[in-house]
């Protein structure tokens, strides 16, 4: 049987093909002109990996919550911000007292604990106050609530901590580069990548093998049946929020290591990117979120110099953020289930 192709599908494909061919043409041009050295490209890739790991950590929060509640926790970026922003008020005194220099590992763990605790507290309150009463409301209602919560949190923290930029102290033992296989890699970037991989591994093991993890998977499959099997659904949902927040909180510290500056607005863009990453990997799918994050990070860091420059666009890095959103649109056109997403059936979408 022949499928009828309607006009909108045609237009969508046309837009998609235009963008893809633009990217291909730009890449071709850049590769031919070859304006960057091999070291440049490796730097781009490593930077993208580090950034992508952060996206992946945040994206996990989106995916976990979406898997269970079928809602986008729009305020998740603010959960991340709360952790990173609060962590500063531990990092600075630690630095001033010289402890951060003397004991960098213990200090970083301390900062991470505070950051994660703050994120968890915020996420817990969010679930308790904003989302739980709306469990059975129409879909638009919790989404609007989440948007409201996002702005409320942003400006609450701006009011509490001030709306200026705070600069994390530099960890002296993490300045400079390590040489790995003859490739120079910034120490902070290496720490971020390794820590993220460890965290994601722990999370994956947790979800696969612990009782709580199994309960989470069961609830995300079918809430009613899970409840009949004796799983406390409310408690499981809270735990999901808490785990997502812990990931976001740790991402907050890693973000601070990488970018130094924190402020109340910092959660918004990474939040959006992480959401894109979650969609990219197939929302609701945990390995998908990890993959999507890394993929997006790489694309953002390599993309501008790879294909935008080839298209003779001046200052291509200004369009870095537009790449992520264009990608989001492209995925939704060509593969709405994401790279790994087979699970998103019509029932859940």
């Amino acid at each position: 049987m022949r499928r009828r192709i309607d006009t909108t599908t045609l237009v969508m494909w046309l837009i998609g093909v235009l963008i893809v061919s633009g990217v291909a043409w730009g890449t071709f041009n850049t590769v031919r002109a070859n304006p960057y050295s091999r070291e440049n490209w490796i730097d781009f890739v490593i930077f993208g990996l580090a950034q992508g790991c952060l996206y992946a950590l945040i994206a996990l929060g989106y995916t976990l919550v979406y898997g269970i509640l079928r809602m986008i926790n729009f305020a998740h970026g603010e959960v991340f911000m709360a952790g990173a922003f609060t962590g500063y008020f531990v990092a600075q005194p630690l630095f001033d007292s010289g402890f951060l220099v003397a004991q960098p590992v213990i200090s970083l763990i301390l900062i991470a604990i505070v950051s994660m605790a703050t994120s968890i507290l915020v996420a817990y309150l969010l679930e308790r106050i904003c989302y739980r009463p709306l469990r059975n409301a129409p879909r638009l209602v919790p989404l609007i609530t989440a948007i409201g919560a996002s702005f409320f949190l942003q400006y609450t923290f701006a009011g509490l901590y001030g709306n200026g930029v705070k600069t994390y102290p530099t960890v002296p033992s993490l300045t400079g580069e390590w040489q790995i296989f003859g490739i120079g890699i910034l120490k902070t970037q290496a720490v971020v990548i390794v820590a993220s991989i460890v965290l994601m591994l722990v999370l994956w093991l947790f979800i696969q093998y612990t009782k709580t993890g199994k309960a989470m998977r069961a609830v995300s499959e079918d809430k009613e049946t899970a409840a009949l099997m004796g799983i406390n659904v409310d408690a499981t949902i809270v735990r999901t929020f808490i785990i997502g927040a812990a990931m976001a909180g740790s991402a907050g510290v890693l973000y601070a290591l990488l970018n130094k500056q924190v402020q109340f607005y910092m959660g918004f863009q990474p939040g959006l990117k992480a959401f894109t990453a979650a969609v990219l990997g197939g929302i609701g799918n945990i390995p998908g979120a990890m993959l999507g994050g890394v993929f997006l990070g790489l694309f953002e860091s390599v993309g501008p110099s790879l294909f935008l420059e080839g298209l003779k666009i001046p200052a291509p890095y200004q369009l870095k953020d537009a790449i992520a959103f264009t990608m989001l649109v492209l995925i939704l056109i060509f593969r709405p289930t994401g790279i790994l997403g087979e699970r998103l059936s019509k029932k859940k979408a």
Binding site: F89, P142, L143, I147, F151
Partner: protein
């Protein structure tokens, strides 16, 4: 020993109230609000804010089903706890300087929070709590009337300096001396306002209750409606002369938001698609206007400068086409996904406008300047001293046309199709509604309204910057639709007055604007998701037939 349920509940509510009060203090809201007084030398907004928190907490702690004594005690306990937490904050703050972390934790705040005497704070809280509990004994209608009275008094008191300014400009201030002091209402004035508003509200609720009891409602006579409409129009026409330039400007701002709100209402309220990238169309309309009419724009350089009226249809068309272009990729996706894609779209437009890539056309971060003012040849030009007042008429005209179009669209076949899609896409499709066409038309109509607002916005300001088209505007419009009542055109107007007009008048609180928006959105969704003026479903059959 097991504590009684009501007691535990009251303690909990009191702790929540205390938490909220501490948050409000540390965020800086209390101190900033303290600068405004509601009743001169008697009541200021900062203390009122804290007392309102106590009042709400205690009111909800003293539940309806409790016995009289328990109600009062529950109110007392909840209020006491809230007060206790504030005392705790002051005491802790006195010992430890928290300013390194919480920038607002200043000694002035602590002094303010102790209400003159720190030991009395829990008692003040408890007193307010008991008062709140006592309100439970009043009949519901009287209680609501009193609450309305208090609310209106608060608003008038807060805005009293603005009112005084307007009255002074019109030489009327002598007649209002009994009501308005230089800062806030007078004591007598506040009492009168509360009483008058409460009485009006009470009488009205009595009448509507009687109307419900009556068998069939009297159909309002046509000419009454027309007369009221004409009267309102006459008032509106006189308004800018009365208000003066500054307040006309505020009104224009509200008008532009009404225009955009009416457009977004089609997408969100009628068709049920939450679009949070709506500012993109405003930007496109404004940029189209700027590029075409500005003598610095690339079109003028090429020797073809347009005037406002020629550029307006172009701005309109650009927005419509963009609306359809955005609509196509999101046709297949629903709900949450759609929201994020629209958000992304809004961001893309802004990023493109800032970028150096399109600088020759959009001016990059500097934007476009020297956009000529709106002119009607031979009649008037929207420039000079009374510019804002003149602009008001144009915006009023646009708003009336837009409201008329929106009303007619809502009742049309297309409008009903939108609402069917909103309620259930699959069922709507099964009923023979063309989803593609319906959704695209919603996007296109919504975008059209915004494109026109953008064009007027550009011509009014004379220059546009990419930074004025941030996400916050989209959120602003979404918030005003939701607060006003999704799908309801009068709701949009009310929402714009409350969420755009009030903050414009209260510029000194602008840093809390989005905080309050966020809280309002959450609160509305939890308590009243249908908005202040809920949209009544269309009746298929008239009553009595």
């Amino acid at each position: 020993m097991k504590l009684a349920n009501w007691f535990v509940d009251a303690i909990q509510k009191g702790l929540i109230g205390g938490g909220v009060a501490i948050l409000l203090s540390l965020v800086g809201m209390v101190m900033r609000f303290a600068g405004r007084s509601i009743i001169q030398d008697v009541v200021d907004l900062g203390h009122t804010l804290l007392l309102i928190v106590v009042f709400i907490v205690a009111f909800s702690a003293a539940k309806r089903e409790y016995s009289a004594v328990v109600k009062v005690v529950a109110g007392f306990v909840a209020g006491f706890m809230t007060g206790l937490l504030l005392v705790l904050l002051v005491l802790v703050g006195g010992q430890i300087d928290m300013r390194a972390m919480f920038i607002n934790a200043s000694p002035e705040l602590y002094a303010f929070l102790s209400f003159g005497n720190l030991a009395l704070v829990p008692l003040i809280g408890a007193g307010t709590g008991v008062l709140a509990a006592l309100f439970h004994f009043l009949p519901a209608r009287l209680r609501n009337a009193l609450f309305t009275g208090f609310a209106i008094t608060m608003v008038i008191g807060t805005l009293s300096d603005q009112l005084l300014l307007i009255f002074t400009n019109n030489g009327l201030s002598a007649y209002f001396r009994w009501l308005l002091a230089p800062k806030g209402l007078t004591v007598i004035g506040s009492l009168i306002v509360t009483l008058v508003v409460a009485t009006i509200n009470y009488v009205q609720s009595m009448r509507s209750a009687r109307a419900v009891r009556a068998v069939a409602p009297q159909p309002a006579m046509r000419w009454v409606q027309y007369t009221i409409g004409l009267l309102l129009l006459a008032v509106a026409l006189y308004l800018p002369q009365f208000l003066g330039a500054y307040h006309s400007q505020v009104l224009n701002q509200v008008g532009l938001y009404i225009l955009m709100g009416l457009g977004l209402n089609i997408v969100v309220g009628f068709a049920g698609m939450l679009d949070v990238g709506y500012v993109a169309f405003l930007a496109l309309g404004a940029y189209a206007m700027g590029m075409l009419t500005s003598p610095e724009g690339f079109i003028a350089q090429a020797g073809g400068q347009w005037n406002f009226w020629a550029a307006l249809p172009v701005a309109f068309m650009v927005a419509v086409v963009a609306g359809i272009l955005l609509g196509i990729p999101v046709l297949k996706i629903r709900g949450d996904y759609l929201t994020i894609v629209t958000l992304g779209f809004g961001e893309i437009i802004r990023i493109l406008a800032i970028s150096d890539w399109l600088r020759p056309y959009t001016g990059g971060a500097q934007g476009i300047a020297a956009i000529p003012p709106i002119e009607i040849v031979g009649l008037f030009s929207l420039s000079g001293p009374a510019k804002q007042q003149k602009l008001f008429y144009l915006i009023l005209f646009c708003c009336i046309v837009a409201a008329f179009v929106a009303l007619r669209l809502k009742k049309s076949r297309l409008g009903r199709a939108w609402m069917a899609v909103r309620e259930d896409e699959d069922v709507a499709e099964a009923m023979g509604i063309n989803l593609v066409q319906t959704k695209l038309l919603a996007f296109a109509c919504g975008a059209a309204f915004s494109g026109i607002s953008g064009a007027i916005y550009a011509a009014n300001l004379g220059s546009i910057y990419p930074h004025s088209f941030g996400l916050l505007i989209s959120i602003n419009i979404v918030a005003l639709i939701i607060v006003g009542g999704m799908g309801n055109i009068y709701g949009v107007i009310l929402g714009a007055l409350v969420l755009v007009g009030l903050p414009e008048l209260l510029r000194e609180f602008s840093e809390f604007r989005l905080l309050v928006y966020g809280a309002v959105l959450i609160f509305m969704m939890l308590q009243r998701p249908e908005g202040l003026l809920p949209d009544k479903p269309q009746q298929l059959v008239k009553e009595g037939i």
